[in-house]
């Protein structure tokens, strides 16, 4: 048995196990992504709509800050959701960091 073949036979079971676990958990990450995309898309449309409005004063400030914080919340929500999913799954999720 060659040296390379021996290495491959040792690595392959772990690789298959990790990849299978990651694919099993992949739907969760995809749903997290869709959730955050829904928030982001809402605030994008919110900005498109409100940019056509003649708003002034504190109302304009609220609109601008709402858009900024909403996009930040979408990114934070994606990050926290994925971290929670990885911690919950305890298997395969760490493949994301490999």
């Amino acid at each position: 048995m060659s040296f390379g073949r021996e290495i491959w036979d040792a690595v392959r079971p772990n690789l298959v196990r990790s990849t299978t676990a990651f694919l099993n958990e992949f739907s969760k990450y995809f749903y997290d992504f869709l959730n955050s995309c829904s928030i982001w898309a809402f605030f994008y449309l919110f900005r498109v709509v409100t940019s056509r409005m003649p708003a002034e004063g504190w109302i304009a400030c609220v609109i601008v800050y709402l858009h900024d914080l909403g996009v930040l919340a979408a990114m934070g929500n994606l990050l926290s959701s994925i971290i929670i999913d990885i911690v919950q799954s305890r298997r395969g999720g760490a493949v994301c960091f490999a």
Partner: protein
């Protein structure tokens, strides 16, 4: 009535239910982001608002989860507990015997299935031998009568 939920339950339900994730995320936007945007318009510095959003996101969703769960959970009052049917001694013995019999039967089925599975695994995982060696016989051992017998088989191999 507000009841604090176990954080482990929150994280498990949050991870397993996409609908709950969606609901909590949008409630977080409505209950945390919108008030903070108003506060920013009236003088709250942006860096504090950003930190509050990032740090308070998960705690806010946990509190929201507790509120939702408190509303959905059936409330058991002391009257309902008092109205529960009493278990008599005869009923208790009957239930215990039934559960024990059921348990013994299930254990027997599991034992039979595991034995069959073990046999099949042994058949499947039996090592495949080359044509120079039989499946059951051990490899030839070097004896004083025939020195170097195992090396004869090796030397006849292709490598």
């Amino acid at each position: 009535m507000f009841r604090l939920a176990n954080p482990a339950d929150f994280f498990r339900d949050y991870s397993e239910s996409p609908r709950l994730k969606f609901k909590l995320a949008w409630l977080m936007v409505g209950g945390l982001v919108v008030p903070l945007a108003f506060l920013m318009a009236f003088g709250l510095p942006e860096k504090y608002a950003a930190y509050l959003v990032l740090v308070g996101m998960v705690p806010f969703e946990y509190v929201t989860y507790c509120v939702l769960r408190s509303r959905q959970a059936p409330v058991t009052t002391k009257y309902e507990v008092a109205a529960a049917p009493a278990i008599s001694a005869e009923l208790f013995v009957f239930l215990s015997d039934s559960m024990a019999a059921n348990w013994a039967e299930r254990m027997e089925i599991q034992r039979t299935q595991s034995e069959e599975l073990q046999k099949r695994l042994i058949e499947l995982l039996a090592p495949t031998r080359t044509t120079t060696q039989s499946a059951t016989a051990p490899p030839p051992i070097s004896t004083p009568d025939k020195p170097g017998a195992p090396y004869a088989a090796v030397s006849s191999a292709s490598w």
